[in-house]
Amino acid sequence: MKTDINTKILAIDTSCDETSAAVTQGVRILSNIVWSQASLHAEFGGVYPSLAQREHKLRIDWVINKAIQNSKIEFKNLDAIAVTVGPGLAIALGVGIDKAKELATKFNKPIIEVNHIEGHLLSPFARSRNEQSLIVDNQFPALGLVVSGGTTQIILAERLGKYKILANTVDDALGEALDKGARLLGLGYPGGAILERIARDGKKNSYLLPIPMLGRENLNRFSYSGLKTALVRLVEKIKKEKGQLSQTDIQNLAFVYQDAAFTHLIRVLTYIIHNSNIKINDLFVGGGVGANVYLRNLLRKMAREENLTIHFPYSKILFGDNAAMIGVTAYFSYQRRNYLKSKEISKIDRSPKFRIDSI
């Protein structure tokens, strides 16, 4: 059996808004197609997220064909097909799973089931097509931080494939909190990216917003709904006094809101690092919010202070939902012989609440 660094995998991810397919060879990305407005390919204009199952169905063949075409690999030369089985919206996951089964049967390929959160967690392992040095050091046990629209988790990776969730959100996810904050400031949807852009011109401490769970970091929880409510109240107050928000107000509020959200994140993370029984040397960061430059700078600063090596994905497209990270994760599973032969694939089912600690 081939488990070498040249294992070629077609990966499919339809867990939420984005329809994505990629071809990977070991940890190298040969192609990575993401149909979404939030991706690099959004260009000037775009579509907003279309959530329905039929949208995935409309796009999936085109996306897969494009991924195959760009990779210059033929279906018959693939070693396996990888597909996200959860977590995510059941009807959306189903589209990717059905397509993976159809292709696996047609070309007689095994299927590797992938957890979407593990995909984000391992996204820093992905390398570009031309990368020569492919040696992966043993960085485990390591900490993982996955921050996206739907997930805010700190994960202990004991080794590849064995994880514990150390902290989770009890209400809103970080990405959702940023999108909603942007919306409250009248910045439209999805607003996380524009919030970041506008916050660059805002002043620290120009307004006061509470840092969530301050002093209660030992509970190992994230909570963003209270911060959101505090912003609602603050915006109302300013509007009552001044009629409407000025551009400077929006910039300042964007800064303090983002800053409070990130401070909470870093405080919980630092608490966990300080109180870990296991010596941690590495921190892996994945998920759409990781594309936020201000957050990355805060994390780098923290990593320096804590003496950790921090690993981010090498390209912006790998932060958001994408199938290349699913391919890379599947490659590691394949090495552990964790896959189903084409005859056994009827067992595969969608798993909307698939937890990374139950892999």
Binding site: H41, F44, P87, V170, D172, E176, L184
Partner: protein, 355 residues
């Protein structure tokens, strides 16, 4: 295909090409764009062929000013403040379209992204043409972002090259990010509101805390629980952002004997929880991100609605028309959470009744 240096071409020459359904590649403040007359079907068809675009992907359009934008989209309050603060600049604002552009330019749902480039040449061209032009990157779909004319030419076929009528070369552009897209249509009450909600036997309480709100949820669940076994129960939750709709649902879950943490379903759209005794299921839905009520129905409500299911639907007012359709299958409890006019941060006015 003709390539001309920017300093050697006049606005009139460019406009002339566009008027003749031509495809022009021009620099902007973000990158090189491919432009055609956005109101001309043939010109847009040519652009589609050039971009090798998949089915159903709309274009945003560039206009010269807010005045012109108003002819093509409905600018709501949210959009207006964005236009005032951030345009011209690298921002694409999506609004409800007025169907004044060629077919395929607006999205299938009838929305249209508008940009006002911060680049004088493009503005001059639009002003002279008197119509919007498509604003899309000059690369073929899923190719490198074009900061130089060579970036484009290198990655396209001979056939694609033949579709270009004119290229205006301004050398290498600064490597700036493409424009950010933001959608303002989610706030549009005209599209979303599905009629006023009339509640029978209206009740009202003032909640002082998170615990108060959760206790109310528990009481309401216990009041309507007896209907389970015959019908589903739908708790339709309405209230502004941060009011505590998820907090209320946490209370419901506790009353139902669900131990799992209830988190916001905004991103996932729907999260299902089974009660410990497996006798009932909580379906937690968030309609905030939904643009049409068909997206709500597509979640498969039909299949899930049973005498064992309890639904908590946030932003229910956006899909109230569809919720009403389940009147036969479910007891629908409409709950409205509001910020009262007081300085008490934790106070909420909660009203409820059966639809």
């Amino acid at each position: 295909m003709k390539i001309v240096k920017k300093e050697h071409i006049s606005v009139d020459e460019i406009v002339n090409v566009l008027q003749n359904k031509g495809l022009v590649i021009m620099p902007t403040e973000t990158l090189y764009g491919a432009f055609v007359d956005a109101t001309n079907i043939k010109a847009v068809a040519k652009l589609n062929e050039y971009k090798a675009r998949p089915f159903g992907k709309p274009y945003s359009v560039a206009v010269a000013n807010q005045q012109m934008a108003k002819e093509y989209v409905e600018i709501n309050e949210n959009a207006k403040s964005l236009y005032d603060s951030f345009l011209p600049g690298p921002l694409t604002i999506v609004s409800k379209g007025k169907h004044q552009v060629a077919k395929g330019v607006e999205s299938e749902k009838g929305s249209l992204g508008i940009r006002i480039p911060d680049y004088q040449l493009v503005i001059d061209v639009i002003n002279k043409l008197g119509k919007p032009i498509t604003a899309t990157s000059a690369n073929a779909s899923y190719q490198k972002r074009p900061y130089r004319v060579e970036d484009i030419l290198k990655n396209i076929s001979l056939k694609q090259k033949k579709l270009i009528d004119l290229i205006i070369d301004a050398g290498e552009l600064p490597h700036l990010e493409p424009s950010t897209v933001i959608d303002t249509t989610l706030d549009d009450p005209i599209i979303l509101r599905q009629g006023d909600i009339k509640i029978k036997d209206k009740n009202e309480v003032l909640s002082q805390s998170v615990e108060n709100t959760q206790n109310l949820a528990k009481n309401l669940y216990q009041k309507y629980e007896k209907h389970l076994d015959q019908r589903a129960i739908i708790f339709a939750l309405e209230g502004p952002m941060g009011a505590g709709k998820t907090v209320f649902t946490k209370g419901l879950a506790k009353a139902m004997g669900i131990d799992e943490e209830i988190v916001s379903p905004t991103y996932d759209l729907m999260l299902n929880y089974e009660s410990e005794n497996k006798k009932s299921e909580l379906v937690h839905i968030d309609a905030w991100r939904m643009l049409t009520s068909s997206e709500f129905e597509d979640l498969g409500i039909n299949k899930m609605i049973s005498d064992k299911s309890v639904f908590a639907i946030e932003w229910a007012e956006k899909v109230s028309g569809v919720i009403r359709k389940y009147n036969e299958d479910a007891v629908i409890v409409w709950i409205k959470i509001e910020y009262p006019n007081s300085d008490q941060e934790n106070e909420r006015k909660i009203t409820w009744g059966v639809l």
